[in-house]
Amino acid sequence: MSTGRPNRKSRTAAFWRRACTALAAAVFAVTAQLPVTSAQAGPAKLHVVATTSMIADAARQVGGEEVRVRELMGPGIDPHAYRQTRTDIAAMTRADLVLWHGLYLEAQLEEFMHKLAQRRSVVAVAESLPKDRLLRHDDYANQYDPHVWMDPQMWTGVVAAVRDALIAARPNARATFEANAARHIAEVEALAAYAADTLRSVPEQTRYLVTAHDAFNYFGRAYGFEVIGIQGISTESEAGLNRIAELVSLLVEKNVGAVFVESSVSDRNVRALIEGAAARGHKVSIGGELFSDAMGADGTYEGSYVGMLDHNVTTITHALGGTAPARGMNSRLSAGS
């Protein structure tokens, strides 16, 4: 209930209220005019957002000119720990199709992805794989090891899932997608053959693959290697002190000469392992850097799925005493692999 003449304080307050209302109205008017998705002149490309760079690579291979793919996690980024940013959310809500891995690889994004699926096209490409071909998680009863891309044969299933998702999003480009997918799957199968041949040359007694975390179980199953990760399947689990001692004993017992660091994980644990083995008089060296949860730098050969696996296979073979071409399957690996 106001009393008489408005004083200075209430007049100032009134001024600010009106100014803010005007400003809000102006902002609303302007933003209402903006298009929800940025339109392009000419035939519109399908906007696809992929979480990992491996999926993005598959989407580009299958989609070709029809799609514009944007990935959330670039080289060197760990998907187990990744939390979405506001920019990511904006990109995903504006996309025509969102592709993610699933199987709890992007553990921090699970809830968000499920919610997003209610409003937009969201496909978990690895979850379409038949469950009997998946490896069970060591620690969680009804979960699976998500690192399926380490086995090219398994990855062909994911490429097929990507193809199906793209077809569902743009049915009139079905022929293009099917052709591209078939071509890419053939490349991946050639990679699988190369891997099998090359890794066969590694002697039985050196088939121990020791890495920073348990990303290589599918690789181990496919090519007959015993796979030991210092951390568990997710990099979010801390390696206990006891684990290092356990692994040092293993390295000494089995006379393992080389261990591997990963591009997206800190190498401290690996170096501690090497020091521990040295204290017991056993020399272990770093066999090389592997691409585990992320691919190589953009624009390089290793920045593609085929290149990533090619690099891994060739590096492992060289380090553990097998024979492989110096520059990999297609002679395209950078020197020093």
Partner: protein, 404 residues
């Protein structure tokens, strides 16, 4: 499992475990002794704010290193960044509590949350940077001992010894400032500079402990040992070294335990061991522990009955309470039939005089909480000085004997 535990205690559980155990033991000793002065100076919460304020410094140091072309894993640089932002956090707390009307705890809460939140934002930004290997910055939150390397251990040992040396050198000044800052100023000690030294030592301990127990838990290593040590001693110097001992033991046992079984995180286990030592202290410490208090209560109970019984004897009254009679009999002060013995009469006379003195003392010291709390439990000679007792005796006259 016990064999592996024993191996761990004897430094036989492997090189890596031994390295970590040495590091955490030294950290525990340094943290416990430094923490005693923070606890005495009532600055425990500030040390927590300072620890949380290290996070943005770590993030910024990482980003600077990467911008300069490195890979961001340079530990001394990261720790230097953490120390710098911790220092800024401390200055912020002091500035806010001095210049604004906010109380110190509000200032601490504000600084702690803002700096820590800022640090988390930086970590989220860093995860999107394509710099190749992660520096493992999240490890600074709760520590990660599995990856401890030899040069890490050397750094911790050197820093720990430096901190201990400074604590020993400055203990007298810090004790004086904590007890009576006014007096300290009057004998020429600079309170501001001593407090600065104390916070610098806290920061050193925090930075050293970042990789072992993490910034969230380091405050526990600073504060729990002195709190536990307080139960064992009433002398500051003793509290300092007992706290160091408790801290070092926690570090040693915690690391050994975490090395003996799979999947045990070292930092949290150390803190749990520390808390267990605190629980033991609060329960079993002689004189100040709960158990001792319970025994004292039982003794008090007996004492009350004894006193009441003897007073009744002195005044020639009948003793009605059977418990009282039994207590007196067990002490040999009355015979089976309830008649007082020789010793009983002597004691009764003493107690009567004591009671009279206490009556006067209570009148004189009417407002003294100390006197009212203790009057039944102790004879007056233990509580008042000779001249005070002489004053009372003047008023009540000479002692009287008890008739048989």
């Amino acid at each position: 499992m016990f064999e592996t535990l024993l191996d761990a205690f004897l430094f036989r559980a492997g090189y890596n475990a031994a390295l970590v155990t040495v590091g955490t033991t030294l950290l525990g000793i340094a943290a416990g002794s430094t923490g005693t002065f923070i606890f005495l100076r009532k600055r425990a919460l500030i040390s927590d704010a300072v620890a949380h304020a290290t996070l943005p410094g770590v993030g910024i140091a990482f980003m600077v290193l990467v911008a300069l072309g490195g890979d961001g894993r340079n530990l001394p640089a990261l720790l230097a960044g953490s120390a710098l932002s911790a220092w800024l956090g401390l200055l912020a707390v002091q500035w806010i509590s001095r210049r604004t009307r906010l109380a110190e705890d509000a200032a601490i809460g504000a600084v702690l949350s803002v700096f820590f939140g800022g640090g988390i934002v930086l970590l989220t930004v860093i995860q999107t940077m394509t710099t190749g290997r992660r520096a493992g910055l999240e490890e600074f939150l709760l520590g990660a001992t599995a990856g401890m390397l030899f040069h890490d251990a050397v750094f911790i040992a050197a820093a720990g010894l430096l901190v201990l040396t400074l604590v020993i050198a400055l203990r007298r000044a810090m004790t004086l400032v904590a007890f009576d800052p006014g007096f300290a100023t009057s004998v020429g000690i600079s309170v501001a500079r001593t407090d600065l030294a104390m916070m610098a030592l806290t920061m050193a301990v925090t930075v050293v402990g970042l990789k072992l127990v993490g910034l969230i838990l380091i405050v526990a290593m600073l504060i729990i040992p002195p709190v536990a040590a307080r139960f064992w001693s009433d002398s500051t110097n003793s509290v300092v070294w007992i706290a160091g001992l408790i801290g070092g033991t926690s570090g040693f046992l915690g690391a050994a335990l975490s090395a003996s079984a799979p999947d045990l995180p070292t930092g949290p286990i150390i803190v749990l061991v520390c808390f267990a030592l605190f629980a033991v202290s609060i329960t079993f410490a002689p004189q100040r522990g709960l158990f001792a208090a319970m025994l004292r209560y039982r003794a008090f109970h007996r004492h009350v009955h004894r006193r009441q019984g003897l007073l009744a004897l002195a005044r020639g009254e009948e003793i009605l309470d059977p418990v009282t009679v039994s207590v007196l009999r067990k002490a040999g002060l009355v015979r089976r039939d309830g008649v007082a013995t020789e010793a009983g009469r002597a004691q009764a006379a003493r107690i009567l005089r004591d009671e009279r003195r206490w009556d006067i003392a209570r009148q004189i010291h009417r407002d003294e909480a100390v006197i009212n709390r203790q009057d039944i439990l102790r004879p007056i000679e233990d509580v008042l000085t000779r001249d005070e007792i002489a004053e009372i005796d003047r008023r009540i006259g000479p002692p009287e004997a008890v008739p048989s």
